[in-house]
């Protein structure tokens, strides 16, 4: 299994060597002319993942708390199964849903955000969109990082949520009852016992979700229209991610280009690895109770 990492390193090394430090900073992707770098795709990946986590965090946190604290005892197993099932649904199905069902619904929201929040909050502004133009079409908002991020959020939310739920359910009964006996409301009990106890699980689960969303391919590939510049305007059409780049370019790639793709894949692998290890360390520590004070 270490083979994969070594192999990627070996093959990608050639490309990294050829590109030098510009591999990190260059935005364009044209390996055959020697001008390529992962700056644009890497930042695209990060933007998508951050958008995804922004939506997935409250969603999974609420679901986890609901299942562990609020749900009636009878439907709890059913809910757990449903959330786990959601994690098992293939990503292509989410991609289809996001592309055909979600995009048209989200577009007016994107327009609203760009019109009213965009002027004050730069990431929400959209170039080429004039809110006062009555004939403006919504196409500038389609295929954006925002939509891809929402779809990816739905894919990672079940995983994040099931990790959080496991940690929440381990919050000690005695302390819960103590809080309730002291007159705390349910929410008071949750904020004073369950959340401090499950803090490691919340952070770890979120990071694990982040790792998953960094590597997501097909849904992003279906939704986003690829551009090779750093695109921080998340509502605007176009974006990119490393995995989408690989899926897009592997087919007509020359030997050297494959090597360059390998290097990009290696970068993605390393980032995911760091995030996941951090996550599993945090989750493991919180489970052993060292964080749960």
């Amino acid at each position: 299994m270490t083979l994969v990492g070594l192999f990627l390193l070996l093959r990608g090394f050639e490309a990294i060597q050829a590109a030098g430090p510009s591999f990190i900073t260059e935005q364009a992707w044209d390996p055959n002319s020697g001008k390529f770098g992962i700056a644009a795709v890497f930042m695209g990946t990060v933007f998508i993942a951050l958008t995804a986590i922004f939506f997935a965090l409250p969603l999974s946190f609420g679901t986890a708390l609901y299942i562990s604290e609020y749900a009636p005892e009878r439907i709890k197993p059913l809910l757990v199964t449903t959330v786990d099932l959601m994690a098992a649904i293939p990503s292509i199905v989410y991609g289809l849903w996001g592309f055909f069902f979600l995009s048209p619904i989200i577009l007016p929201l994107s327009q609203w955000l760009a019109t009213f929040i965009g002027p004050w909050f730069p990431p929400f502004s959209v170039s080429g969109f004039d809110p006062n133009d009555p004939l403006a079409t919504l196409t500038v908002f389609s295929a954006s990082t925002f939509i891809a991020g929402i779809v990816v959020a739905l894919m990672v939310a079940p995983i994040t949520s099931s990790i959080m739920r496991e940690v929440f359910q381990q919050a000690p009964l005695g302390e819960r009852e103590g809080a309730l006996a002291l007159g705390a409301t349910k929410w008071g009990m949750i904020t004073s016992v369950v959340i401090p106890f499950g803090r490691g699980g919340i952070i770890g689960g979120t990071m694990l979700g982040l790792g998953r969303s960094l590597g997501e391919t097909i849904a992003v590939f279906l939704i986003i229209s690829p551009v090779f510049v750093i695109q921080p305007l998340i509502l605007e059409k176009g974006g990119n991610s490393i995995s989408a780049l690989i899926a897009l370019r592997y087919n007509e790639a020359s030997g050297f280009e494959i090597s360059a793709l390998m290097a990009a894949g290696l970068a993605l692998f390393i980032v995911t690895l760091i995030v996941n290890f951090g996550a599993s360390t945090i989750v493991a520590r919180s489970r052993s109770g060292s964080l749960g004070d």
Partner: protein, 439 residues
């Protein structure tokens, strides 16, 4: 959580047979109920309501929901130039939260208001996630219903269907066959390797096992596209063409860590007393694993494999890179391109033709049915922990034990070992064996 609540409420409930007015019989009554505190308020004890939901909460909820929808409708249709269903829902929800908070604040204190608000927000977040899931499933099935209605969708491949042909020509059987072949190869590779690795991790703990466990953890982080790229680069480097076997290898790389991790968890749950008993009887490590550990954890191992399979079947990107796509049957995994259900879905929906998109949704629906069936099978099998037997397994084990008893008695009486049921009649009936239950 509910059991915590019910327990605390049981404490506050008055024991029915203790007369509260008698100070001798109930020395601790002052801590029980408010009625007990006040000797003047004697009389029949009013039964406390232990329900966690009160009528006024429901009334507040319904009232604020109706008010929110009404206000938003007014806003949308008369006051402001707004449009869009999503905007309507979002603004109604914001209004609902606001109104609910105000309504509660009329007669509750601040912690209670905060509690009620948090409860409403948590309920709606969970509801939203479930709603999203159902909308994914229902939308896919809704769009996929049209091609699923044609019988040829399940019996033909796409080689005869041109781009403009209707849905009554062509089908996805080739993708089903491709998926089955790929997943079969992947399972042949994954199951022995994965379970052996898991056994190694649990039976031979040490620095190397810890290293392997770390690597497995790292492999779960491997993005699927990178796994595909890895196999693709090997194919290109060694001059092979894309084939079903290559795709199966890529799927294996994805499935293996999942299977190893869940099998590892299950194997660690096997009670060590069972293993120690086997060792005490003189069994070697492998005999212990084979006859004690594995059978005990069988249902859990099955679950691990099925979950891995469900994951592997749904993988698109590794297959996209390694299998190539075809429109015709290919039963040979070692030569020629092959396709699978997710990959076919992907190629279908990339086409601008409406019929192809419909076929894509149909394929996605088929894929989802397969995954859901596998998942539910895993749940049904894995519902029991290791060592817990179904009634049928219990009976089988009891009868096996009785046979052993016959055998031992037969040995004592000098009958050849291995004598089974046909010799049973000749032997004296054994002591009745109570069906021994595990645990």
């Amino acid at each position: 959580m509910t059991d915590v609540l019910s327990r605390t409420e049981q404490v506050t409930q008055t024991p029915p047979d203790v007369p509260l007015t008698d100070p001798e019989a109930a020395p601790a009554k002052t801590t029980w109920t408010r009625a007990g505190n006040d000797p003047g308020a004697a009389g029949p004890e009013v039964r406390r309501s232990t329900a966690t939901i009160r009528a006024v909460d429901i009334i507040r909820l319904i009232g604020s929901a109706l008010a929110a929808v009404g206000f938003t409708s007014w806003l949308f249709f008369f006051a402001l130039p707004l449009e869009g269903e999503l905007g309507f829902v979002l603004i109604s929800y914001g209004m609902f939260l606001l109104l609910f908070g105000i309504l509660t604040a009329f007669d509750e204190n601040r912690p209670t208001v905060r509690d009620r608000m948090a409860s409403v927000v948590m309920h709606s977040l969970a509801f939203m996630l479930l709603l999203a899931l159902f909308s994914v499933v229902i939308y896919t099935f809704g769009r996929g219903l049209e091609p699923l209605g044609f019988f040829n969708f399940f019996t033909e491949d796409m080689s005869n269907a041109g781009p403009l042909d209707g849905l009554d020509r062509g089908g996805v059987l080739h993708a089903v066959v491709g998926t089955l072949i790929m997943i079969a190869i992947a399972l042949i590779l994954t199951v022995p390797l994965g379970i052996l690795t898991a056994v190694f991790l649990t039976e031979y703990p040490g620095p190397f096992a810890r290293f392997v466990r770390t690597v497995v953890e790292a492999m779960t982080a491997l993005p699927s596209i990178v796994a595909g790229l890895f196999v693709y680069a090997i194919i290109v480097q060694f001059g092979f063409t894309r084939s079903g076997f290559a795709a199966a290898c890529a799927i294996t790389v994805m499935m293996l860590p999942i299977v190893v991790r869940s099998a590892d968890v299950v194997l660690r749950l096997v009670p060590s007393s069972l293993k120690e008993a086997a060792r005490a009887l003189g069994a070697s490590t492998w005999r212990t694993v084979w006859t004690v550990t594995m059978p005990t954890a069988r249902s859990g191992l099955t679950t691990a494999v099925i979950l891995g399979t469900a994951r592997g079947i749904g993988e698109t990107s590794p297959v996209l890179l390694t299998a190539g796509a075809t429109t015709f049957f290919n039963f040979n995994p070692f030569s020629g391109p092959m396709t699978s259900l997710p990959l076919t879905t992907f190629t279908f929906v990339k086409s601008p033709e409406l019929n192809f998109i419909a076929r894509g949704f149909g394929t996605a629906a088929v894929l989802m049915v397969v995954v859901v069936v596998l998942f539910l099978a895993a749940r049904a099998i894995g519902g029991r922990g290791p060592g817990q037997l179904s009634p049928r397994q219990q009976r089988r084990r009891t009868s096996a034990s009785r046979d052993d008893d016959y055998r031992f008695r037969g040995r004592e009486l000098g009958v050849a070992a291995g004598a089974k049921s046909r010799k049973r009649a000749a032997l004296p009936p054994p002591e009745p064996i109570a069906p021994s239950k595990k645990e």
